[in-house]
Symmetry: C2
Subunit: 361 residues, 2 copies
Amino acid sequence: MVSNRKVSALERKKEVLENLKRFGAEIYKQMMLGRFPQIQMPSRSIENIYYNPELRQYVLGNKTVRRSARNIRHIRPFTQLVWAAYFAYELTSQRKTSTLRDVYYSSQAYEVPFKDQPESNSIITDLETVIGFSREDFNIFPEERSAVFGDLTIEYTVPGYEGKRLNLTSHPDGVMIGPALTSAEFVKTSADKVIAIEKGGLFTRFIEERVHEKFNAILVLTAGQAPRATRHFIHRLNKELELPVYIFTDGDPWGMHIAMVIISGSANAAHLRELTTPDAKWSGVWATDIVDYKLPTDPLTEIDIKRLYELQRDPRYKDKLWQREIKTFLKIRRKAEQEAFSRYGLTYIVDEYLPAKLEET
Amino acid sequence: MVSNRKVSALERKKEVLENLKRFGAEIYKQMMLGRFPQIQMPSRSIENIYYNPELRQYVLGNKTVRRSARNIRHIRPFTQLVWAAYFAYELTSQRKTSTLRDVYYSSQAYEVPFKDQPESNSIITDLETVIGFSREDFNIFPEERSAVFGDLTIEYTVPGYEGKRLNLTSHPDGVMIGPALTSAEFVKTSADKVIAIEKGGLFTRFIEERVHEKFNAILVLTAGQAPRATRHFIHRLNKELELPVYIFTDGDPWGMHIAMVIISGSANAAHLRELTTPDAKWSGVWATDIVDYKLPTDPLTEIDIKRLYELQRDPRYKDKLWQREIKTFLKIRRKAEQEAFSRYGLTYIVDEYLPAKLEET
């Protein structure tokens, strides 16, 4: 299977740079005309975030906000946003990456004050909204890293590695999903599916039991809640290589939500489209699996139960499967970890459970 | 530089298996002689843990404990330990890996009851004490994963990869430190030092700024507190390749302690010798760096301060450098993150701070 990516990584970077430039040029133009510069962008306030059942993710509505240098209360966030665009342009054109934390401290080098990191984070999200790309596209990456293993050959685009290729089975502990992998082209794969796994121990078990060969799968470790770069990587595997995605998590509300955020994203990222994989499936551990497989369990805590009631009302969880599983959790009042299958022997999860669930979902 | 490892990975596994077998044979022999089987092992109680200034780590004293099948209160832990040895033998001889969590659930497949995971964890630590190897040697790995990048060629010993080699610059986001890397042989390196880094963002910055080339360094990401497999890997880089190790953490008591655990280990692992690197250096961020470099800071919290007083009394922290830094923290009442250097531009930490600190420590 060869990638059907429409836009190469380099073309994409070019587009990001052009959008950033256009943003600057627009402000410059206004000033040259003797006007107070202003910008308009979609509002990210809660009243403007809607769940879109067709896209199966949150989106922004039509409300916009305007920030004008004429308004004294706007001057601060306006200046910060312009600086952030400048900084993003520098990063992207110099092909350096950064983190949200770095951005916060870097601003001090330019004497652009942010009172704390939440303020600088929020400005970076504004910049995503304005230029229509996620921050990873302008080289601001999360601190967290997760990993991947499987038959996929990639070609790097980062400095020093241009044109170099790596097959992602090269290292049997998995390779990290960072800026280099995120910006790599997909060259070739024999895989016909993606299996995302919450926990490191099970990721290693799957590699040892050759799940990648037996099930033709690319294995992705989410390491708990998947970092954004990992969600984008899963999105790309699904879109560019047309691979179905199956997600395996612990059997509790937190595991469900790890799967859901990969599938339908979060309200915080309602302004972005490339972090979700709506056709991905949550394959387990379901509450009904706990019953069917007689798994060792722990009781649900108060916090677990409160969380389940929240999920029950969440529009992303309206489908039958999710509602049934939430109800079952609330009925049995128990939860189970992925490792609980080891009660039937270490390889049971691969020999019995995994094929059954891939068939079922 | 070629590795001066004394024992190959395969010989080491053989030794582990022999020790496990000897443990079983000893019990079997006692029963054949018509005796209640018993075992004797070093006590791991607090009164038997001492700091050894020569080894610069905690060690166990001479007190031993005896567990006898004759004593009704001993039968449970005795049986659990024998089962754990059996399970470890199965894992190691079948070349499968596992986690502490898997061990807990697996015991249910054998109807060996553990009331909870702390109980099974404690039995695994007993087994380490009895057979003189760490649990990673009998294939029980931590859940957490960290990463490495740099010019080191390794040769795998895990099934399916025997004899295959990988250079650890192959993937510019870094490769995971898991069972395969841990059990690999070191073949060749041009590096003359190891730099361990607490945070993912800085690890990526160092790779992008080619610290591995400019400073001939192997870069290790600890991702917070270094997992045991990573501490063992650093130990091996230091012992087998004779590479000096420099550790960079946040400038706060928690960062200090990340460095200290790599250097001198923890009291919990007083029965093991291969998780520490006593000659490794904590190179920063020091409290005195915060002052000298005028870094942006946050105030120390109550918990930070309490922790500093604990460290001040800890025998591992008795050296001048540590005492001076603890005092300075307590005096300035501020802490700083590694990213704080970005106030002088993104590359300042690599261009100015890193060379200065490598010289100084």
